[in-house]
Amino acid sequence: MTSETAYLLLPEIILILAGTLIYLGGAFAPGKSAWAALAALVILAAGGALAQQGTTETVQKALVTGTISGPLTIDWFSAAIRYGVLAVGLVFALVGSRWVGEGDQSEFQGSLLMILAGLMLVALSNDLVLVFVGLELISIPTYVMLYLGKGTNLLESGTKYFFLSLLSSALMLYGFSFLYGVAGSTSLIDIRETFANPDADAARLMSFARLALILIFAGLAFRLTAVPFHFYAPDVYQGTSNANAGILAVIPKIAALAAIVRIIYAGMPGLEQIGWQLTLAVALVTMTLGNLLALWQTNVRRMMAYSSIAHAGYMLIGLSVGFAAAGGAVVAEGLDGVGATLFYLLVYAAATAGVFAALTYLSGERRIVSTLDDLAGLSSSHPKTSAALALFMFSLAGLPPLAGFWGKFTLFTGALSVDARNPESGNLWPWFVALALVGVINAAISGAYYLRLIGVMYFRSGDAAPEGQGGAGAALATALCALAVIGIGAYPGPLVEAGKKASRAARDVSPEMLAGDRVPANQTAVVKPLPGLQKAEF
């Protein structure tokens, strides 16, 4: 690791060191809200370090051209994800500030910081090994976290998540091995070069590349909660605490999308056909199933689990358009499918984190808010929180002028902009129109359960008002999310543009990335194939 690489990783290093310290410190002073404040400060410090890096000449140049430094890729994509992750992390640090069970405070906050660091590594990495390390750095603290706090069935939900997460990691790793076999390198930039200009050996192994794509996608689909890898989510969310459910609903999705963009979308050119077909099919099934099953739920966390499944489907719409566009389909200028997905991810995260922050705030020692009935009459007992919850629901349902509307709008415009009159993309067009149609019908269906929750809060009267002991941190987190939902709704332009910029950065390769600025081979973490294990021998 060069000093430059270490410097570029400073935000992650800050997070991991602080996380470790908080773990250790918890042994001496357990259960203090101060740990949350410390974690929030650490996140802000990491953000500061990131911002400071952004002012240096190296990074500024890197952001324009996209640069590889050791195993890291510095470009707009990693920058966008890192900032986004820190913002989400700040919200969850606040959510967990008061009420995560006795004595578990430091463990919760320490795990959170680790998770954030892992997430940022996934976005940064230019190497399959580092991607995997990043993903595990997310998973392992998550296992710990799932046993913390106060939930209805922590043990079951933690165990379930643990085993299924292992399975998905194994699937993904299996896919990685095929990918390595085809490309002969774990460096994503090398893999991309091989796919763009395959030599005779690689061309012969392309069928394995397809297998690799499907396996990797399957492994990541588990984190994205895309059908058919979604089934664990309702049980796990229902059994765990509100704060944990929020983290599960948001963070693995960011990781999965970042990895899909880096490995499949950007890393495997030439396979766009299978890419758009796979994502399109999964998107159709995922959103429909998620929304339909959500209709029958009476447990809020379970409902939000199905909602998060449905939203994973919406996100795949943008990916599908992105793959089609990368594969040569003509998409109207100014639109970018993957950019829309990234924007949607942020919009979704704001609303979903807000919902779980509000639920955490409403809970108390005696009762954690779980069912719809717990929320009955909330508008009179907690008018501000219920207004915020209503706002999140409307945003998730995609009503203008809130953030969620713009998220859906950018996704659907992307799908419909695949040009009808262009002969090259003509045969794709009906598929994408169908995708958009199914998408909007789903948006209408989803209105039913989001509004039911609002109806329960506003139109019914409840016997026992929720205690509302979640603390000022959770309240602040709720307010921040509400502001984000309104603010993005009022002025979506810059963030939509940022999404596009990030997506383009991930896909486009500058000459510098291929040659100029690359660190000499002896300093990279790229694993060169052993002489005896040539790819031809596969």
């Binding site: 009503l399 009808a420 009159r421 019908i441 209408a444 039913a448 139109f459």
Partner: protein
Amino acid sequence: MESTYLTLLSTVVFLPALGALVLAFFPREKTEAMKYFALGVTALVFLLTLIMALPSAGDWQFDAAVTDMQKVFSVGWIPSFNINYFMGLDGISFPLVLLTTFVTMLSMAASWPIEKHVKAYCILFLILETGVLGVFLALDFFLFYVFWEVMLLPMYFLIGVWGGPRREYAAIKFFLYTLLGGVFMLIAILMLYFSSDLKMLSKDQLVAAHVISPELSEGEQAARFAEIQAHTTPRRTFNILALQQLGQHTDAFNGDVLGKPLQWWAFLLLLIGFVIKVPSVPLHTWLPDAHVEAPTPISMILAGILLKLGGYGIIRICYPICPQAGYELAYFVCALGVVSMVYGAFAALAQKDFKRLVAYSSVSHMGYVVLGIGVWSAVAGNEFNADAWKMGMNGAMFQMVAHGIASPGMFFMVGVIYERVHHRNLDQFGGLFAKMPLYSGLAIGIFFAGLGLPGLCGFIGEVFVTLSVWSFNHTLAIITASVVVLTAAYILWTLQRVYLGPEYKGPHGDHLHPMTTRELAIALPLFVLAIAMGVYPQMVFHYMTPSVNQTVDDLAGWAQRNAANLPQMAAFDPTAPAPVAPALVQAEIQ
């Protein structure tokens, strides 16, 4: 000039929202003051629009002689999608705007009995007005859509919080139906957007669509035109006027999609969105539930204004943008109208709940609107005589305004009696005339207006539509005419059961005190207008006819240009006599 209009129309639209903002700072216990304030705001907005109807209003005056859009302004809003803050008025929207501000004011006055969460009620009420006015004034399709959806939220809460026992069900049903229509509309909007290309239009067409401001000098216009033409990629647009030009003068929306032109699908999607709002059978089931559960003032707004948004959308958007689809689907649209009329009337006959009966009468009466718009009888052999369709379209527009007066009146009358006796069971009324003569007199007048008695407002629209249908299809015309009998049946039977009879035997008989001054102040204007419009329909036609006729002429012109490619209407009989009373209608119209 544009800046004057910007100020004027923005004030009209956003004054209620501003009032809602001010209301938020009222102390909680001053409920009376809040109601007066909200009433003041709605009255102010009404006055503002009323002034526009006056000849002496100068710049603000709505010029009824102009057929095109007036008071138009356009400023950029979201440049990356070519979305503009673009509004204007013409003879189709202006009467509806006036109706909106008027009925909203009366409904606010009818809101005095509301005691629960008064502040929230007034705020939502005012936001609702902003949403509705925005829809009527918007000329940018995206802006239209945003207002359309914004209108949903206050209505959902107004039904859900202040409604009757099944309010939660009714509110969510209302919301989901409209949301579903809205998302279909969004798809259609985007389909049209991505097929649009301003480069296909001539300079004059671009000026007519206000893409190039008519206020620019000739040279500047030419420069803007050259600028648009210079682009290599398509120039997409949400401008409704430009989309109309594209739909009528180019083949932009004729691309093949699964064997049908793109505009056929767009028309269908838009039509679904709008007929949900109208509502037409079979998408009407939200309406009776919403009406029965909603408090009286909200029912008045729902029936008086919100239903008109559907008809307005069909006139303003469906037909002018997708004329070919409109032509091909003429029978489908007409059938929707006729089925709604018949079904609504029969359903009304079967009702026991007074308010539900009035709700079904709305379904039936709004069927006339759909029918009148859908009658594509411009093509007679190879002669393009649009007179009959003009009559139908004018009738539909008149019917919208007339229904906007009569049906809030009917709902208010039901509300007045409900407040006294707390039930709406038609079998338990009777003899109200003896106890409340003034109220019963007004109510009978308003119900007769709904029935369509000659000399009252309901008559004109119905007769125009029925006459115009005759030249389109005799069978439909006969059914249409016979619905009048059904309407008479359920209204007269209702009047008999409620107001006539020896004495009131239902519950709470001792609460039947006479109308209060406030109630009279709401009912009387509606009553007077119902008569005035019936006796002197010109007061409405004067404003709407030029624009309506222009719209029909444009579409007939389109049909003339494309006559060779159009299938003849299957049941069209070229030997059929000309419309029954064109001379009378022409006189009416001019």
